[in-house]
Assembly symmetry: C2
Amino acid sequence: MPKRSAGMRDVARRAEVSLSTVSRVLRGAPGVAPEVRERVRAAADELSYAVSRNASGLVTGRTCRVAVVVPSLRPWFFGAVASGLGHALHAAGLDMLVHQADGAEDWTRDLPLPHNSDALVAVALQVTEEQYAHLGDLAGPVVLAGEELPGRASVFIDDRAGTAGATHHLLNLGHTRIAYIGTHTEHGPSRSSAARMAGYHDAMAEAGAEPWTVSKPPGPDGGELAVGELLSHQSPPTAVLAESDDVALGAYRALRRSGVRVPEAISLMGFDDHDASAALDLTTVDQAPEALGAAAGQLAADLVHGRRPSDTRIELPVQIVPRQSTAAPQERRTSP
Amino acid sequence: MPKRSAGMRDVARRAEVSLSTVSRVLRGAPGVAPEVRERVRAAADELSYAVSRNASGLVTGRTCRVAVVVPSLRPWFFGAVASGLGHALHAAGLDMLVHQADGAEDWTRDLPLPHNSDALVAVALQVTEEQYAHLGDLAGPVVLAGEELPGRASVFIDDRAGTAGATHHLLNLGHTRIAYIGTHTEHGPSRSSAARMAGYHDAMAEAGAEPWTVSKPPGPDGGELAVGELLSHQSPPTAVLAESDDVALGAYRALRRSGVRVPEAISLMGFDDHDASAALDLTTVDQAPEALGAAAGQLAADLVHGRRPSDTRIELPVQIVPRQSTAAPQERRTSP
DNA sequence: CTGCGCCATGGCAACGTTTTCATGACCGGC
DNA sequence: GCCGGTCATGAAAACGTTGCCATGGCGCAG
């Protein structure tokens, strides 16, 4: 019964070999007789010994750890991305260190980075070119997930094409008075917010339809506010496209409370494929956050091992998930 | 421009002091002249130097890292718990290492624990007494979050009281035909599933009402199946209490698709305060997952520093969140 | 039969910190 | 004015691993 936790020395004694040999076996290095290898494995197992990444990292300079920074783990979306990241990193033999930026103005500062992780994955965080360089000096390879920076390792979706596709979906159903609910914080809209709104404008312009946008704070409350505004118009829209499902949920609530039936009176569409969207039968755009995370994790692992160029950019496809919250506008419906 | 990352040696040179002094300053140890302290701080700052937790952990035996194991980060709930954990640990100067168990039969085996973390937090994972002891040997203090083991450090909510309260809420509205939707996997119901169902039985028995339970696989699909079964009964329930919001969402969808109005025809209540519950106006029980995580993180930090006994048990309160999905049953409604 | 080379193994330094101990300066009291 | 004590500082050992080099045994070719 070991007092605290066994060291490599104990394993060596038990297997009657030297430290070097134990190290070689546990590292999978060649040059060890099969019989000895087995003996060491057994000894390590019996002591339930595992190599201290602390000590090995000290020598090799690699920590087997990747730092992941998310705005917060609270919203569904980042948890899903982190999940994909965790799986990919785990498969690559890397541990995942998670930090939450929590809207700190410069989250790049208070991370204990140097020597502490082999790479950094920033999820849905805006990073300036300057910050990127700084992080690279400190933490090694940096991967941007859900954001992008020209010439830098990034994994992202085509937000613009996503909303354009969503808008087409509504246009194809016969809608023309399609309102768009975007969001912005005090610092203005995020890159992805702007891209999504641009996609909407693209599609509307292409169809020759009049764009109609409102912008509110993020979250369900924004959606609720936006719907209040839209419904008070003399001729309300027949379809509403929300920047995100989060916003769409708020919009949905406001519509239900106002007695407006979805999709009969107004079609509602979101973006993200939120967990709740399935329950609500909300038509949405699936951006596969878990796949996003997985791709980013894979990329980070590859960068650590130098298996891919550091300017690799991966664009993930999005997919429209048609459900019951969108339908042809009532005025144009053909007889039953 | 440092080639890779500066070491303590570089800081020492720059501040013209010895390694020892730098270490003392950066560690906040006493016995350094204020003027020198300032000089070292400045030097470290200019080199954007941060102590290698790898090396310091090697000497102190403490890693400043806590391993967190969750079943998966994908579901909303665990992300929220992890969020609270992250904040609490960060405040205590600890980094958070996240692992996903992913339903592995014995997740306690493939964690690279020894020497690699100061403590372990297991979230909503069943741990046998034997596993607990094993983990303790390997990883130091172990905290159970959302589960409990007698005499072991745990943070949990009173599931039983939660569902009992929820049932009372429905009883108080005048319902008597109250069905309960529980869940079970192939291994049977989890501890918390069992506790929740017990709370329901408690309240029904106390009120002299006939219990009516169905048990399905977890998730929205289970809720959907359950509702199908309940509605096919000759005299369906007037209220349905679901083990979790996740299940309730599926139930809600099935009800909506069947044209059953909520709450007019059937009252529906969940448990968890899922993000989507607010959007759906679903009455639920808030178990404050973020607070759960925060308490667990705080406890883990305290255990690491020996500031609390290792058998500390914290029970967090739950709170009913009344929303629009529950109302008095139609038959008994008094005239408007 | 001898000698060369390869392979398995062990010894030792080094990684970047903390910690303990030693050194020396300075201050105050008798 | 001398001595003991306190305080700031520096030197060196140790932490648990890996990487390099040395050693010795064995097989095979000449």
